[in-house]
Amino acid sequence: MTRTVLVGAAGSGTAFGAISAVRRAWGSQVRIVAIDANPAHLVTANLLADAFETVPYVEEPDFREELLRIITEQRVTIYLPLVPAEIAFASRLIEGGDCPHNLHVMAPSAFAGGLCNDKLKLYEFLASRGIAVPRSAPADAPLAGDELFAKPRSGFGGRFARRLTSGEVADLSHEEKASFVVQEICFQPEVTVDCFVDPSRGFHRSLSRERIDVKAGVSAKCRIFESEELDSIALRLSEALDLEGTFCFQVMHDADGRVVVTDVNARPGAGTSMCWTTGNDFHAANFARCWDEPYEQYFRPVQGSIFVTRQYADFLTGTAP
């Protein structure tokens, strides 16, 4: 049976990394359908896909109908949603029994998907499970403190996240107060941990990426290393949130020097593909697991620290008269 993968948010760096990994590992044996809210000529991943469709944003009422139409028409067998809202949507779709029976959706439970799409609820849940998180509160009932870190409860990629004084928090718009979370200031280094877990076989692998430099919320320079402590947190997160396959999370330190989890993504990150240079392809392993193929081949041990830097590449994606 032809394997057809549908990748959401195809304009994202994460999608480009995932699709590149599929092409690298499986060439043209896998059919790739890419969807995004942007037109084809503004989505680089369109160049690697076999088919592309522009779809409404996930919050729009027509998204569901368009998604199910594409899944049916393109005979999609694997669906990889990549932005938090789409992951939460996909999780609800599965649990609502609305997916075609032969479709595998690479998304967590609706409960976990919902948590990963609401940072405040995520922090509360993780804290209840004994996983250290920053002290946090809704922006309309903030923590005490001269300086706080504010970010959207449902954001990703660090968008709109920033340090604010308590006065600036008080001056946030009504909309921002309703939709932001504020938390204690945390300290560098900020580390993203890329994880792969297969609970059915008791296999897991994680690799830590210290974010030395970041552009638009995505790692541009990293120090990659193995950490037993962060690997242990990865397993605890996987168990607490029932996360399987590839996912990632971020940690920093609180004022007491404790490692605290600042974000969890039930999906690979935009910087996850940087691990490929170390011989660790978390994207390929994620798909291999779905197809019951050996995934151990996509992992190698890392000795000491490996530095990886990233540069943009230019692609001619379309023409116009």
Binding site: R23, R24, G27, L47, Q311, F315, L316, G318, T319
Partner: protein, 224 residues
């Protein structure tokens, strides 16, 4: 053993990058191109341009697509789609462990990116020498290196590799897992065609063992 080895199609899967790049270029013009058919034709001996013409692309379109493909195929992103064959690391490790010396012989425009790529793929530590020849004249470039290197064999995947080995008087072992299929390689005159690099090395080692045995028995000189 002193061995020369080609890179693309011999140690690295070459179809993925070539096809993905051509596919992307076609899509940038909103063209639906069957890159699998293009690849089959290339394996049978056609150039990229000739394959496109065979599939019915116009001369102008074939020229545009080919010109862009040649310009872009060694850009860093496309190089990142290369991966070693499943047997590459193990076979190279086996050779090095046995005391063999391996020289890499490849035709590339971007020698500067080759070193980065080999490091990313975990291959750079296997080679005694790395020789990069001009893509415009790979036969002459490789023959020149082969003639001076004292190599016991050269493993490659194209008729150009075969001709270079013949010009240099070096035994050639072809692999049919790369740019050309078995039929094309035999048509070009390859007598030793193997499915993969590991099999080619087994054949070379076996032949070397036979030669050493006969040399020991005879006292001196190669077998007749």
């Amino acid at each position: 053993m002193n061995l020369a080895v080609d890179l693309d199609g011999t140690l690295l899967v070459c179809e993925t990058r070539q096809s993905a790049c051509l596919h992307a270029i076609a899509r940038s013009y909103a063209l639906d191109l069957n890159v699998e058919k293009v690849w089959t034709l290339k394996r049978q001996g056609r150039s990229t341009r000739a394959a496109l013409l065979t599939l019915g692309c116009s001369e102008d379109l074939s020229n545009v697509l080919t010109e862009r493909w040649r310009r872009e195929i060694e850009e860093p992103y496309w190089l990142s789609l290369d991966r070693p064959f499943a047997d590459t690391h193990a076979t190279l490790s086996r050779l090095v462990a046995s005391g063999s010396e391996i020289s890499l012989l490849t035709a590339r425009r971007r020698a500067d990116l080759l070193a980065i790529q080999l490091r990313n793929l975990g291959l750079s530590g296997f080679f005694r020498d790395i020789h990069v020849v001009d893509v415009a004249a790979p036969r002459a470039g490789k023959a020149n290196i082969l003639a001076r290197g004292g190599f016991e064999a050269f493993v490659g995947d194209t008729e150009s590799d075969l001709e270079a080995a013949r010009d240099a008087g070096v035994p050639f072992h072809a692999v049919a897992c790369g740019q050309r299929d078995e039929a094309r390689l035999k048509q070009a005159g390859a007598s030793e065609v193997h499915a993969c690099f590991a099999e080619a090395v087994d054949s070379i080692v076996h032949a070397q063992a036979n030669f050493d045995g006969e040399t020991t028995a005879a006292g001196n000189g190669p077998p007749a």
